[in-house]
Symmetry: C2
């Protein structure tokens, strides 16, 4: 295996308050960049770019440091850390956002330190698309660039979203966002529209139903989710998916359709571990041997 | 391959009025028994047991006769045929039932003709669970028995539903029904409850997201749906799934976990054809070579 490529992750570091039928956690570490970084660092060197307030307990990021995640790009600004509060319903398919307090995240203007700018892989988690476009310019030699977004930006900054899609290697989007963005009556038709806009491939996330990978001139790849008897907390599952997928691609430096499929499976499997625990609990201590064991178990679930 | 076992199908023959974003059809042939019979007869000899009113155009069943479906059990009673009217929303995930007129179906008391009673396979489509239990007693030598139901009976006749599950080889149920029936927080936990009640295996239908097969002491089988760029009308997809699955099992007379998985895949693929057309349009002319070609295409979509 070649030496792993570096990944720069730009997104949020947050303090989440989460309520599910299984329990409640207050001001617990969260944020897209944390989940993505934690998952990607299982495979590749990661540079984290984010902002926190001066109320943020920096020691909570120690587990990332131990995985040799470069935190130089995590800036501390005077003010409050981004806080999010969400509540999940019984079957976990739906959640209500109770509270969003942007704090210092509102003024976030990502500046890549030299080390982060030299990474060849980039994961743009959900932030203002104008900032995502700006980060893209800061990367010196991008080899594989992926982005995620939310409905808010699809509605408010449609032009910038289209410009991003034009420049992406991988668009990671959930089924509802894809429908809002394209108006298409099926995931395949929606993904085809994004391919026409310019991205090299599309990964449609369907939560507990798995994901579909759609590339140009390729047979789509159907990846059902690893089924859990007791899902505990879906927070961060989508970010874990993206992080592990990109991490695996960076570690293998192989962009063939076959390896992309394996990357999607590893992303899906990593996400299943996240959902098994509360917040970052499970992802924080996840090991390669656990991932590989579940990968084999998963294969036995889809063979026929 | 051994000679195919016979399947008896008990359910409804209806006149459906369907509205989707792609069009509208009035009083078109439908009903669970018709979809199941049409799909199962692609693989095995079928005996249909149902009731229609004296307003029913019997010639509309000619295509089943041509597939050598035995219609001796389809009784004509004075009165109106069961009519159902439904409207699908844009993304086809949800439908509203506009109208249900039971007509002669309200007094349906299924009596199996001798030929139907001698079949070894039985598919009990959704009817009153008391009647389903009664049909079960009429079968002389059941080898593989499957049933489907709806929320109405799960709410109103819970005891009978549990008795049926105890006697079933295969319970075919959708995700919402399973949640209502078991109160479980996940499909796996719900399916396990049904296995504890006594059925040998459970197939959970998830519509456009595919199906999961859960058996005792076996690794679950995840079967994502064949993706369609232009789904036209989901009416009858679940019944097509059940029919093709049972038909394949009856044709192969092989109840091994491996063959069950293939049967689920064939069910899923047959259902995808039904959704591609309006009402029975596509299923009516479906050929084995089309099914086999899509089976191969599907395999290429799930390999990694």
């Amino acid at each position: 295996m070649p030496s792993a490529e570096h990944i720069t992750v730009v997104g949020s570091v947050a303090l989440d308050t989460i309520e599910t039928p299984y329990g409640r956690a207050e001001d617990t570490l969260g944020g897209s960049a944390v989940y993505i970084g934690a998952a990607a660092s299982l495979y590749s060197p990661v540079h984290l770019v984010a902002v926190v307030g001066d109320d943020f307990p920096m020691e909570s990021l120690d587990f990332l440091r131990e995985r040799e995640v470069d935190l130089e790009g995590v800036r501390v600004e005077p003010g409050s850390t981004f806080r999010w509060e969400g509540r999940y319903h019984r079957n976990m398919n739906r959640r209500d956002t109770i509270r969003t307090e942007l704090g210092v995240f509102e003024g976030f203007r990502p500046e890549l330190p030299a080390s982060a700018a030299e990474a060849n892989y980039l994961m743009l988690a959900n932030i203002d698309p104008d900032l995502q476009l700006d980060v893209l310019k800061q990367l010196k030699d991008p080899q594989l660039v992926a982005f995620d977004t939310i409905k808010h930006w699809i509605r408010d900054k449609h032009g910038q979203i289209e410009e991003l899609i034009r420049q992406m290697d991988v668009v990671i989007i959930n089924d509802e966002e894809l429908e809002l963005l394209t108006g298409a009556g099926s995931l395949l038709a929606g993904a085809d529209q994004l391919l026409e806009m310019g991205t090299r491939c599309v990964v449609v996330k369907k939560g507990e139903h798995g994901a579909i990978l759609v590339g140009r001139d390729e047979v789509p790849f159907l990846c059902p989710a690893y089924p859990l008897a007791e899902p505990k907390d879906p927070t961060g599952a989508g970010d874990t998916f993206a992080g592990a997928m990109l991490g695996y691609l960076a570690a293998t430096s192989d962009h063939s359709p076959f390896n992309f499929r394996r990357a999607v499976v590893y992303g899906s499997i990593a996400a299943s571990f996240t959902v098994e625990g509360f917040g970052l609990d499970r992802l924080m201590n996840l090991t390669h041997s656990e991932l590989d064991a579940r990968f084999r178990e998963y294969r036995a679930m889809v063979e026929f």
